[in-house]
């Protein structure tokens, strides 16, 4: 339907059907209300957990799925996977309070079409929704820069990420070795690799950088 009084002064022939997944009710309600005030957007469903996605009517059509990355039961990459298997045609747009380069990288790699932060102005949110709906990607320049930074770096192996968690908890090489049943020497090699890959000065800086970039997250420590 055409509207002459569209707030954003743009005309759309089609309504974009949006579904939102966020664990916090206030965000869910506020965001859905805000998006609903846009004529071209229709919020068709809200979910407080990615798990709920599997319970919906498969016939429901969703164009854009807004997903919070950090949720207590199923979050992040897993949620993206769940969503894309449930709504194979939907485009996934991440809306997160965090903007660490690792999370952006992982989300995009997992198949998200875009990434915005929760504090983005609504114009950016709606722009992102429209962009991903039209088949493009959306990352604002700041997030795009973070993603390219991340792509330049050597990726940490899963083992190194495991070890990084323990480094961040303040464990010594010996304790790390004991935890994974590897020698202290091997643990030290791993830690040295981590420090090199993150281009850090020492293990403390490596842990801080890893947290900053979202390679590891505090609640998992």
């Amino acid at each position: 339907m055409k509207t002459s009084d569209d707030l954003l002064g743009q005309d759309f022939t089609e309504t974009i059907r949006v579904a939102i997944v966020d664990d916090h009710p206030a965000v869910l309600v506020g965001l859905s209300n805000m998006l609903s005030t846009h004529r071209e957007i229709e919020v068709v469903a809200t979910f407080s957990s990615a798990r709920q996605l599997s319970t919906v009517d498969p016939a429901m059509a969703v164009d854009v799925l807004l997903i919070d990355l950090r949720m207590p039961d199923v979050g992040g990459i897993e949620a993206i996977g769940l969503a894309s298997s449930r709504f194979p045609l939907a485009r996934i747009l991440i809306i997160s309070s965090y903007e660490t380069d690792e999370e952006i990288f992982r989300a995009i790699r997992a198949g998200a079409a875009g990434y915005i932060t929760k504090n983005a102005p609504q114009e950016e949110i709606t722009l992102a929704i429209r962009r991903v709906k039209s088949g493009k990607r959306y990352l604002n320049p700041r997030l795009a820069k973070k993603l390219s930074d991340r792509l330049e770096r050597d990726a940490l192996t899963p083992r190194e990420i495991e070890i990084l968690h323990l480094v961040a908890r303040g464990l010594t090489n010996r304790q790390i070795g004991a935890q994974f049943s590897i020698s202290e020497h091997t643990a030290r090699n791993h830690v040295n690799n981590i420090i090199n890959k993150l281009q850090a000065q020492d293990r403390t800086e490596a842990a801080v950088l890893a947290l900053k970039r979202g390679i590891i997250q505090l609640d998992a420590i």
Binding site: D5, L7, H24, P25, A26, V27, L28, V29, G30, L31, N33, M34, S36, T37, H38, P72, D73, S97, K118, N119, Q122, H165, G170, L218, D219, A220, I221
Partner: protein, 477 residues
């Protein structure tokens, strides 16, 4: 007439000679106390006779009686003499500084005797001079040894007087290493006041005969230089390790504080920050509605104010978690229920309470620990597990109190159990601080059961005590 004069002369001569002879004889016969030889007013050339007991054979010979000792130089050496023989000695008197000496002496054994025991003296008594040439016994601490051509000298420290002991080398296979420095020795020997052969400035020397004359009273005391140095080293090491331990403890404490801060930050992020985000979106929605002249603005504003009220509730909850209420620890169960309901605040959560056994036996201190564990368990159940039913049970079985908090929430995976958060660690720490244990049984989707089993009377190791002191101090902040 001439004949008579001659006779007179002869008689005179005879009488004078016999008088001289009888005079000599009388003098030789007079036995003097040895101690009085030095004060004798008689001419030195006159022979003096003393009676005494041999205290040392050889050359010179030493004799002594109750008044003192003297040296004797025999005219004819007599190898059959024994220590202890009672003898009469007459000889030419030679004065010495503290005693006397009889030279060209003749000796007569009066009786074979038993050796007299040494006079036991302190070093300062021996130094007085009254015991010169007497067989004495005294004690001192060995400070040094020195070897000369024919003797081994021990330099000893009496109470106030240093002295030396001479051990003849010819007779015995002695060497300095037989005596440990700083050991306390008892030395028997002839006290010689004016012996300077040792080269030491000591008031007297003890001339010993055999090894038996030197006995060890006590070995070197512990407080010698080496041991003191070792002890200082050990203390230093202990100090350093204590410091290291303290630093570690501080780091651990600091880690706990950081954990707590992290948890608070998360808590605030999960609740307040999200609420604000939601409210911000809602306000944006209202603005959009006003601009577009929509008619449901009032409804949207009402929703916004409800969201703000909800945020206030979040804030209240966060604060409640930061500062657990000052608790009456008497009724643990009732307290836990109240706390739980305060945390829930209106949400649809049911609490079931159950107690068995003599729960009155729970001491206030233990009650406090149970409350903190229970509080943490309930908070977890509400915050993370989204439970709708929480069962709290308190049982006293024999000498054990068991607190169980069971919920029907989403559970915790074994993986995240291992990577315990602050709350879990704090619960374990509290249970351990009283000698108890904490079990967590949980599987995703099956709820969580936390069971603390704590003895009614604390079984505390020093470690758990330390843990509880440091831990509680921090946790109460």
């Amino acid at each position: 007439m001439i004949r008579a004069r001659l006779l007179f002369i002869v008689v005179l001569c005879v009488s004078s000679r016999s008088a001289a002879a009888s005079d000599l004889a009388a003098n030789a016969e007079r036995v003097e106390p040895i101690g009085q030889l030095r004060s004798s007013v008689l001419l030195p050339a006159v022979r003096h006779t003393v009676r005494g007991v041999i205290s040392r054979v050889g050359s010179p010979l030493f004799i002594q009686d109750r008044t003192g000792g003297a040296e004797v130089e025999l005219r004819v050496p007599n190898p059959s003499l024994r220590i202890g023989d009672e003898v009469r000695v007459s000889g030419t008197l030679v004065m010495m500084r503290y005693s006397a000496r009889l030279e060209m002496a003749q000796l007569e054994v009066l009786a074979p005797g038993v050796p007299e025991p040494a006079v036991s003296l302190t070093a300062s008594m021996a130094a007085s001079g009254n015991y010169d040439r007497v067989y004495v016994e005294t004690e001192g601490v060995l400070r040094a040894t020195r070897r000369t051509a024919e003797s081994l000298w021990l330099l000893l420290d009496g109470v106030r007087e240093p002295f030396v002991a001479e051990l003849p080398l010819n007779e015995m296979a002695v060497n300095a290493s037989m005596f440990a420095l700083q050991s306390r020795l008892r030395v028997r020997g002839i006290c010689i006041m004016d012996d300077r052969r040792s080269g030491e400035a000591t008031p007297f020397a003890l001339k010993t005969v055999t090894m038996e004359d030197v006995t060890v009273v006590s070995p070197p005391p512990f407080w010698n230089r080496t041991h003191v140095l070792e002890l200082v080293g050990v203390l230093l090491l202990a100090g350093i390790s204590l410091m290291a331990f303290y630093v570690r403890m501080e780091r651990w404490r600091f880690g706990l504080i950081l954990d707590e801060r992290t948890r608070m930050a998360h808590d605030l992020h999960d609740t307040l920050a999200q609420s604000f985000t939601g409210v911000a979106y809602q306000l944006q929605a209202i603005r959009n509605a006003i601009r577009s002249g929509a008619d449901n603005v009032e409804k949207q504003v009402a929703l916004a104010s409800a969201m703000v009220a909800d945020s206030q509730e979040d804030a209240r909850r966060s604060i409640a978690m930061l500062r657990p209420a000052d608790l009456d620890t008497g009724n643990v169960l009732e307290n836990l229920r109240q706390q739980g309901e305060a945390l829930v605040h209106g949400a649809e959560v049911r609490f079931t309470l159950e107690s068995s056994g003599d729960v009155e036996r729970v001491a206030p201190e233990l009650g406090y620990i149970l409350l903190r564990i229970g509080h943490e368990a309930i908070t977890n159940a509400l915050r993370h597990a989204r439970a709708s039913h929480i069962a709290i049970a308190l049982r006293v079985v024999e000498d054990l109190v068991i607190l169980e908090v069971k919920d029907d929430g989403c559970g915790i995976s074994q993986g995240s159990l291992r990577v315990r958060g602050f709350g879990m660690r704090a619960m374990h720490a509290r249970a351990h601080s009283y000698g108890g244990t904490l079990e967590v049984h949980s599987n995703p989707g099956e709820g969580t059961m936390i069971r603390a089993s704590i003895p009614l009377r604390a079984r505390r190791t020093w470690r758990s005590r330390l843990f509880s002191i440091l831990g509680e101090e921090m946790m109460q902040k």
